[in-house]
Amino acid sequence: MTSRQLVLSVVIAAIVMFVLPVFFDVLNLTTYAAYALLALSLGFVWGYGGILCFGQTAFYGLGAYVYAMTAINLGEAWGGFFLAILIPAIFAAILGAMMFYGRLSDVYLAVVTLVVTLLLFRFMNTTAGPEYVIGEARMGGYNGIPGFPTLHTPGNPDANIYDEELYYFTFIILFVCYLLTRWLLGSPFGRVLVGLRENEQRIELLGYDVRARKTAAFAFGGGLAGLAGCLYANAAEIVTPELFSLGLAAEAIIWVIVGGTGTLIGPMIGAAVLGHLKFVLGLQSIKQVFGKENPLEATLVFGMILVLFVLFLPRGVVPSIQGWFGRSLVGRFKSGSGMRRRTRSERARNGA
């Protein structure tokens, strides 16, 4: 990324950040920004690493829980903030190492990641009893953990970062993570990672240790997702096992595929737009417009969106638009990879 591009993206991000609250509720926007960071992490792991992780929510939920429990024990937020990045990243590294050194791929990898998030979902749901406690923090089972200290000015636990401040904070973190991810993709590590998505065997025959690199990429994605969970926890002021649920795992996938795999901006936009769509569909008002039998049931709409996108726009919205308008801001390695990965899995099938 050139410095001109950097300045341009900062300007655009700043405009977006200040314009959005004019039209939307900041509480919602904060949540959408957290979703967008989760989508960014999945977009990176899936779109650039070629690792289709069905359970990215495992790291997201873990980040939220780590934050909540650390904040309760420390009585302040920042320790939890950093642990919420570190612990999911370590967890992802361990899980990733297990999978990649075990040569799991494609469908088996999807199963294992999905199972891990379900495992955490089930486990967190069973922790209602008083014996499940870490320090002063009860894990709370189905209830989740409400009432933990939220983010505050460093050093002053009473000066909470609230409402609009929290929105700006979350948005800026999201933007920094976006820049960081772009920088990483432009680095030699990132380029090899993209090559690896394109042809794992070739990268290996060139002498790169594929397993180590995939593990590292997975850990980076896990850290981003954990941070997203931490930001979500601050927006929602509660963490519950729902963070690990199959439904949210599905939504994250939908965000990315709708926004576009192989880009970073696409998944983020997908998350924000679909997050808002879900919110609107859940409003009483919309239900009342249609009477009791609301045909716009959120799961129904989301399901149809996913089916239609896979069938008709498998590259997602952003790469398609880029395809119409030629190259744009999104970095040199974007090159509409949704299609390309398809040819790869076709090849995998033919080989099998």
Binding site: R191, R202, L205, G207, S335, R340
Partner: protein
């Protein structure tokens, strides 16, 4: 152990279940030698190639590359020794440009700056500089083969393993490939696994004939191809 070859294989055997794909193969490759491995389908060429590249672990025997025990090593470890490998199906990164493909190969042992320089040189060497910015996936088969040669070259290897480099090439492209292989041979020892007799004659060098998982004979290409036993193996496809 005396180091009398770049590649030193002793008693290599591979069994799948009860079937032997390779049996007690002894094989030596000297410095800067160019050797072709030939044989009919199912002779064990590819199996042996996979053993050399670490894609397959032999059930018995010993393989050393420059004296280093390579049995059980991963492909990236073998490649990491400075071995360039090209597989049978063109194995390139379709979603990336030609330049990017070669850059990734060059960058492994070099800094970004020298990698960029190596990329330009390599593009020239294989004569594909005009399509440097094109996506590899959009290139014709033969051009993709060349790109793969490029990725192998960019690592500046001292040993190169090529599996059926001529497969699917037009006559022109095959000639070009012969030239490239010859040129590579100036700096590196090469093993070529090949099926195409015409291509091998063009390379004109020492060949090893595999048959039913064993080494049938070794020698200069013309001599070997005149050998009636070899002709039987190739023509009498009864087995």
């Amino acid at each position: 152990m005396a180091r009398d070859g770049v590649v030193e294989a002793r008693g290599v055997g591979v069994r799948f279940g009860g079937v032997s794909a390779l049996e007690s193969v002894d094989f030596t490759l000297a410095d800067n030698e160019l050797r072709c491995l030939i044989g009919p389908n199912g002779a064990g060429k590819s199996t042996f190639f996979k053993c050399l590249t670490g894609m397959l672990r032999p059930t018995e025997g010993d393989i050393r590359i420059r004296g280093i025990d390579c049995v059980g090593a991963h492909p990236h470890q073998i490649a990491g020794l400075g071995v360039g490998i090209k597989t049978q199906v063109p194995s390139v990164m379709n979603g990336l440009s030609v330049r990017e493909n070669i850059w990734i190969a060059a960058r492994r042992l070099n800094t970004t700056r020298s990698a960029n320089r190596i990329v330009s040189e390599t593009l020239e060497r294989i004569g594909i500089a005009d399509s440097a910015g094109d996506l590899v996936g959009n290139l014709a088969h033969g051009r993709r083969q060349l790109v793969e040669f490029g990725t192998v070259l960019a690592g500046n290897p001292w040993l190169i393993l090529l599996d059926e480099p001529a497969a699917g090439l037009t006559a022109d492209e095959a000639e070009r490939a012969v030239a490239v292989i010859r040129e590579m041979n100036e700096r590196a020892a090469i093993i070529v696994v090949e099926h195409d007799m015409h291509f091998i004659r063009q390379l004109a060098n020492t060949v090893t004939v595999l048959h039913r998982g064993r080494i049938l004979t070794e020698g200069y290409v013309d001599t070997v191809l005149r050998d009636p036993v070899v002709r039987d193996v190739y023509l009498g496809k009864s087995q």
